[in-house]
Amino acid sequence: MKKQNRLWMGAAALILIMVYLFPIWSINLKAPQYPEGIGLNIKVNTIEGKAPNDLQNINGLNHYIGMKVITPGSIPELKVMPFIFGFLIVSGLAVAIWGNRSWILLWLSLFAVLAIVGLIDFYLWEYDYGHNLDPNAPIKVPGMSYQPPLLGTKQLLNMRTTSLPHIGFYVALISMGCAAWAWRSEGKADKKKSATVMSAAA
């Protein structure tokens, strides 16, 4: 591989460190009583309130409709995700140093599969959270479930719920973009190389 493409691939791996610093996804709630909003940030290893006590307050509000208490410590995905990104960083660096063009493609495919699995998992978690309600909940609205949207905005009783990717997700996209760039330009370089070899042979 060309040095330049190795650098692109290295960047793709290293930029993922930022995933540990910024949230990946965010859920914002607006209600008449919360004109300033209340919300959650999903990070690689935890779920946090946007303001110091938002998680506690959302749990407090949700108990009326029987939604489960969100306790970040008991969500297994949050334990696994730091290692998945760790693996992507280490393997990405390895590809950058020793790999060739096919290894880039393999790394990229793995990343994409993990991302899709992650989003499906997130959807299922949201589904469970919004449907699996305590039968003793004080407020029961027939036919009502409270699954937040995966992407976009949905009105759930008095709460206008908006779910959007956060910086960490865009970092992952940029990482994939860098790797894809390395793969593509390495392809061009290969073509050029084989062209020169052929013309030399002729």
Binding site: Q56, N57, G60, Y64, P138, I139
Partner: protein, 654 residues
């Protein structure tokens, strides 16, 4: 006139009527309507928008401090200060009772007169507002991050704490003075008619220490006049304070006649820097004087009382250069210092002029010893040597003056019920406006500071009569907001104020609104009986004393069923509000308790003491509509006869 003619005349009537209506509406009203429209626009604060200023209006005989938004005149809060407040349990619950302790025991009521914002560089800074209690002399400090009274200092050797509290340019000191002279020292049981020989006044100087706590640094012993109001100097006059006095006759009965005889009374000019030096050098004597300092512990939110028994008294007869008397006509009331610190205007309430003294002339007069005599060891300066000018025809009964920062002063005239605007250069009246009725103080935001915001003026009236819908014999007081941004004063708004506001102060909202506490963090709650989560809730008995450490969160208490309480028990119910969100207080009340409810802010613990006198089931509930299931937020306490053997048992949801 024959019949036909009169019919013809009648035919003209509609036209005449239209003409007449045009006259009525077309002329007088149209004009008023357009000016009302103008005024309405100036005071209209659209829904969801904020006022430009916080206005702090003393509550007078309700003992509290009211907060109004200006220019809308909307009443936005009342801060409990010197009176018990069942609205939130202030002065009733175990945590705040001690705030109302005095050397005379528990005093549930106070008379609050003059709010005074803390200043930096002679400009209100939005840290604190201080306010005096006139009847049982005290000064309170209110923390503007929380809008709560956090400290109350009693003032010994004082009575009628009226000339109080006034701050120096950087809030180095808060001063206070006695409106009612009394015997000072150990011999207090004297004949009332011995007043002239045995009574004295005192001027108190309270230091605001670096930790924010107040400390009574020293008092100055002064002749037994009635010290009425005060203001500190600023800029060139920084280091001095001025106190008006009346009753230099030292009458002890029928003061309205006997204290109004002298042509001139005095303004006491006090060089407090000099006095503070004397105090720091240990000059003067420590004399007996019992007083209490109550303060809220920032970690437990529990009021604590500190006892003091003596105070440093400085005597001008022994310590020269501290104080001078400025002769001032006819029982002066207010004394107000111009923004540049040079002019000292006195409201000689029985005088036909407003005398204005010059600070620089006063300093010259002191240097040249232009004295006309001496009273109680205090030099009296010559009136002509210190006078800057007299404002002629200021209306009858001039009381108080504030400044707009643009070269004009505004003085209330109580008897003629008006405000007069006069020039600080020519001392001529340039405008006047009626108020409804009989203004006492007036207020311009920052109007007693180095930097007035000369946009609005509020007249604080003493008589209301017909201004609002009548409410029987007792009425709120009226206030009027007046536009002073132009050459002519214009009345904008008339609004009722609770209690009897004496003075008020206002500050740009920007200086206060951004730093507000929204709730208290549970992890910082160091209350000894706090239950910081539901697992810490418990009921414990020690003899006939029962402590219930209870939690509240939307929408239940933990515990909400309690048994094993007996008649004759003293039950302390400590309720911790577990919420950690803005504006989610919970309340607590139990049937038959001989006290007020509790209102508990998020993260805080409050305690109600209950001594049930009868056996039975006693419901308790949350008094604040906190949530959709607020009505469900309730519980039961079983009270058994004294001799019963019901064991303590408690829980929620079992």
């Amino acid at each position: 006139m024959n019949k036909k003619q009169s019919i013809r005349w009648l035919g003209l009537l509609p036209a005449l009527a239209v003409f007449g209506l045009t006259l009525i509406y077309g002329c007088s009203s149209n004009q008023e309507f357009s000016s009302y429209g103008d005024a309405a626009r100036k005071v209209y604060v659209a829904p969801g928008e904020y006022d430009e200023f916080y206005g702090f209006f003393s509550g007078g005989y309700n003992g509290q401090l009211s907060v109004y938004g200006l220019p809308s005149g909307r009443h936005i809060y009342t801060i409990p200060v010197f009176s018990q407040a069942p609205v939130n349990g202030y002065g009733y619950n175990e945590e705040t009772k001690a705030m109302l302790q005095t050397s005379h025991g528990f005093v549930p009521w106070g008379d609050a007169h003059h709010p005074e914002l803390s200043q930096t560089d002679g400009v209100p800074d939005g840290r604190y507002v201080f306010i005096n209690e006139n009847n049982t002399p005290r000064i309170a400090k209110i923390d503007l991050k929380k809008f709560q009274t956090t400290e109350i200092l009693e003032i010994p050797n004082s009575a009628g704490n009226h000339a109080s509290p006034f701050v120096t340019q950087n809030t180095e000191y808060i001063s206070a003075a006695t409106r009612f002279s009394i015997p000072i020292g150990s011999e207090k049981d004297v004949a009332i008619d011995s007043r002239e020989e045995t009574f004295n006044g005192t001027l108190s100087f309270i230091k605001l220490q670096d930790d924010g706590n107040m400390k009574l640094d020293f008092q100055i012993l002064v002749p037994g006049f009635d010290y009425d109001l005060s203001h500190a100097g600023k800029g060139p006059s920084h280091g001095w304070s001025f106190f008006t006095s009346y009753n230099s006759e030292q009458a002890h009965t029928l003061l309205e006649i006997n204290a109004s005889k002298n042509d001139k009374d005095f303004i006491a000019a006090v060089n407090w820097k000099k006095a503070a030096e004397y105090a720091a050098q240990g000059k003067g004597t420590m004399i007996e004087g019992e007083y209490l300092r109550n303060y809220i512990d920032p970690e437990t939110h529990i009021a604590t009382t500190e006892h003091h028994s003596e105070v440093r008294m400085l005597d001008p007869r022994e310590l020269p250069g501290m104080i001078y008397f400025l002769p001032t006509p006819k029982s002066p009331h207010g004394v107000d210092v111009s923004p540049d610190g040079e002019l000292i205007a006195a409201g000689g309430k029985l005088s036909t002029v407003i005398p204005v003294h010059s600070f620089s002339k006063m300093i010259d007069a002191i240097e040249n010893e232009a004295f006309e005599g001496e009273v109680g060891g205090i030099p009296v300066l010559k009136y002509d040597a210190i006078l800057a000018g007299e404002v002629k025809d200021p209306g009858l009964g001039p009381l108080h003056t504030e400044f707009d920062g643009n070269g004009y002063a505004y003085t209330t005239a109580f008897i003629t019920s008006e405000i007069v605007k006069w020039s600080l250069e020519t001392f001529e009246v340039v405008d006047r406006i009626d108020t409804y009725y009989s203004p006492g103080h007036l207020m311009i935001p920052g109007g007693d500071s180095r930097k007035p915001e000369g946009k609005y003026l509020v007249a604080l009236n003493k008589i209301t009569k017909d201004r609002y819908l009548p409410t029987g014999p007792e009425l709120f007081h009226s206030a009027q907001l007046i536009d002073i941004s132009g050459d002519k004063m214009k009345l904008l708004l008339d609004f009722p104020t609770e209690g009897e506001p004496h003075y008020a102060q206002a500050i740009p909202a920007e200086k206060v609104m951004h730093d507000q506490v929204r709730y208290y963090r549970l992890e910082d709650n160091k209350h000894p009986y706090a239950a910081r989560n539901e697992s810490e809730a418990k009921v414990t008995r020690e003899g006939n004393v029962v402590h219930i450490n209870m939690t509240s969160i939307r929408s239940h208490f933990m515990p909400d069923n309690i048994e094993g309480i007996k008649v004759g028990d003293k039950v302390y119910i400590h309720v911790t509000n577990l919420e950690q969100d803005w504006d989610v207080p919970h309340g607590f009340a139990v049937k038959g308790a001989n006290t007020s409810e509790l209102l508990i802010m998020p993260g805080e613990t409050r305690t109600l003491v209950w001594e049930p006198g009868k056996a039975g089931i006693f419901p308790f509930y949350c008094t604040d509509f906190c949530s959709a299931l607020h009505q469900e937020m309730s519980g039961y306490i079983r009270v058994s006869p004294q001799e019963s053997d019901v064991e303590i048992a408690y829980g929620t949801g079992q």
